[in-house]
Symmetry: C2
Subunit: 371 residues, 2 copies
Amino acid sequence: MSDDVTGEVTRAARPGGSKRVLHQPSIKDIAKLARVSHPTVSRALQYSPLVNAKTAEKIRKIAEESGYRASAVARGLVTRQTRTIGLVVTTVADPFTSEVVSGIEQTANDHGYSVFLADSNADPEREKRVVQSFAERRVDGIIVTSSRVGALYLPMLSQMRVPIILVNDQHPGAFVHSVMICNLEGAQAVATHLAGLGHRRIAYLGDEFGYQSDAERFAGYRAALDAARIRFAPELVVHGDGKPEAAMRAMDTLLALRNPPTAVCCYNDMSALGAMRSIRLHGLRVPEDISVAGFDDLFIAAYTQPPLTTVRQPMRRMGQLAMEHLLMLISGEESAVKIKVQSELIVRESTARVKLPEPRARQALKGKRKQ
Amino acid sequence: MSDDVTGEVTRAARPGGSKRVLHQPSIKDIAKLARVSHPTVSRALQYSPLVNAKTAEKIRKIAEESGYRASAVARGLVTRQTRTIGLVVTTVADPFTSEVVSGIEQTANDHGYSVFLADSNADPEREKRVVQSFAERRVDGIIVTSSRVGALYLPMLSQMRVPIILVNDQHPGAFVHSVMICNLEGAQAVATHLAGLGHRRIAYLGDEFGYQSDAERFAGYRAALDAARIRFAPELVVHGDGKPEAAMRAMDTLLALRNPPTAVCCYNDMSALGAMRSIRLHGLRVPEDISVAGFDDLFIAAYTQPPLTTVRQPMRRMGQLAMEHLLMLISGEESAVKIKVQSELIVRESTARVKLPEPRARQALKGKRKQ
DNA sequence: TTGTAGGCGTTATCAT
DNA sequence: ATGATAACGCCTACAA
C-alpha cells in the first residue's frame, strides 16, 4: 500500500457471523422444499398460468424466504439471451458522455437489461479488447458513444452477431445505426445569433481536425456566415481537441491576430471554458470584448462566469433513444438507421452586441461598407 | 417517435449481407474442425501444458479463423465465477462519481473483469432492484459509491454472498469495507488556509444535513476554527444539497446576514459554483469581497472564474483502490476494512487575504480584540 | 396441472 | 496427451 493510503487494522466481521460461504439455493433446492419438481418452480416464478394458483403462491413464498434468485447466467445459457448490453465509451469521466450513459442505463434498466460499461480510454487496443469481452459475454447488443476510433474496429463490430448503435459517431458508415445531434443546424444557430449581434469577425474554434461532428459544426458556421453575407476569413479558424487546455492555446492564437475576432464559436462547452480562460488571461472581458459560445449545454454552462451561451444537446434523451432503438433491433424489428435529434440555442450572458469599432477603425471601415 | 427526433428512411444493410444470423460456433464446432475432443480445445485455448504444442497451435488457429469466442456465460455457470462486478452509483452524470467509475472500470478491465453499471438515481426502490439484478447476474463482488440510502439496503447487501466495498459511504457500518477520503483533514486544511489569510468570519456551506462526509468536513472546519482561536458562529453554518442550485440559496442566506462572512468553505466544488454565482448576483466579487473554497477538485475547478481553491480528492485513484481491494476480497484474502486516502489542498485564486474592515467596523472591533 | 428428460456451452474429473 | 462423461442451473419440450 503506498503512502497516500492508510489501512485501518480493524478487521471486518463476516456479515451473518459465519465464515463459511453457503452457496445460493438453486431451483432444485426450492423444488425440494416445496415438494414439487423444479420445472414447476420455474413456471411459478414466471407467473405461468399453467401452474395451480395455490402451489404457485406457496412456491413463491418459499423462494422469497430462502432468498432464492434465479441465475441469469444459467438462464442466458439456455435462452441464448442475456438481457445485457455492452456500452463502449471513450471515457466516462466526461460530462457529455456520462449524461448519455445515464440515459442509456436508465432505459436499459427499465426494460430489465443490465449494462456492461467499458471505458476504452480512447485507446484502440483497449477498445478492441472490450468489444471482444462483450462478444464473450454474449451481450444482446452494443452501443458505442462518440468513438474516435470507430473506423478502426467497425469491421470487427459488424462481425459480431448483435445489433450495434453509434451515438454521435465520428466516422459514419452507410450501414450503421446511429443517433446524432443536428450539428449543422445547431452551429448555424449560434453563428447566426452572433451575426445578429452585429459581429462580423466571428471565429470558429474547432475540435481536432478530421471528425464528423466538427466538420458538420464548421459547415453550420460557414452557412451562417454566408447567410449574413460575412466574408469567410480562414485565419479565424483554429483547432483544439475538445478540451479546455488545447482550446486555450487555440484562443491564444486568435488573440495574437493583427485583427482578432470579436466573437468565437467553440466546438463544445469544454473548449469554451478554455477560450474564456485564455481571454481573461489576456486581460480582456467576456462578453464586453469578445463573445464566446459553446456547444452541448453541459450542466456547468449555467454556472460559468459569465454563464455560457451554447447549443443544447439533449444528452440523456439521446442515450434513451439509442437504447430504445437498440431494444427494437434486438427484438428483430427493422427501423430507421439514422436518428437525428434537434438541438436548441440557449442564449446566456457570454454573448453580447459587438462593441463599436474604435474611431479610427470605423473610419477605415466606412469606405468598404456595402449597404 | 416524438417531434424532436427525425428518423431517416434509409434502411441498414445487414453487415455481411446475409439476413440470417448464423449463430456463434461453439467449442464443439471447433473440436470437430480440429478433429479433437472439446475438452482438448478448452485446454488448448487456456494454454494448458497438458496439450501437445502442435495440436494446441492448430486448434488456436482454427478457433481464431472461425471467430470463435468462448462463452463467458457457460464458463460462469460451471466455474461459479463470472468475473463481473456490480457497480452502484447514485448517478453517473456527476463529475465526481464518473471519475471514480472510470478508475474502477479501468482496474477491473485490467484484471479481466467486466463491470455492470447501475444508476440508482438516488431512488431506494431502484437501488434495491439493481442490487437484486446483480444477485441474479451472479456478480463476484459489488462496489457502491457515495450511497445516500446505504442504511436502507445494507442488510440486503450483506445478505448477498459476495464481498462489497463502499466508496465514500455516508452511513458507515462497522463491518463494511470502504474507501474514504480524509474529510476532516481536508476541510481543516482549507479552513486553516482561510484563517491564515486573516479571515475571522468563515462560513461553512454544507451538504444536506445528516451525512457522514458532511459531518466530517464540518468537524474539520470546527477544528481549524478552534486552532485559530476563532469563535464559532452558528449563523455562519448553512446547508445546501451538494449541488449549485441549493448552494446559491444557502449563500443568499449568508449574504443576508447583518454581518456576512468574508470567506466560505463549501462542502464540494459544485456547491462552490453555486456560492460564487450567488455572490456575483449580489454584486460582490470573489475573492476581493468574499473568498470561496470548494472540495473535490473536479476538472472544472481549474476553469472557473476565478479558478477555485479546493481540496483534491484522488477520485480515479479511489476507484482503483476500491477495485483492487475488491479483487483481494474476491480471491479470499482478508484485508484492511477501512481504507483512507489523503486529500490535498489546492490553492488557486478564489481565496485571498481578507479585506481590511471598514474604519468604523475596525473601531468597533478594537475593544473586543483579545490578543 | 405436473413431472421427466434433454440440452444450452463450458470446465472438471476421471479414465485411457 | 487425449477422450468420455458428468456436472453447473435453468428452460422447454413432451409425456403423464
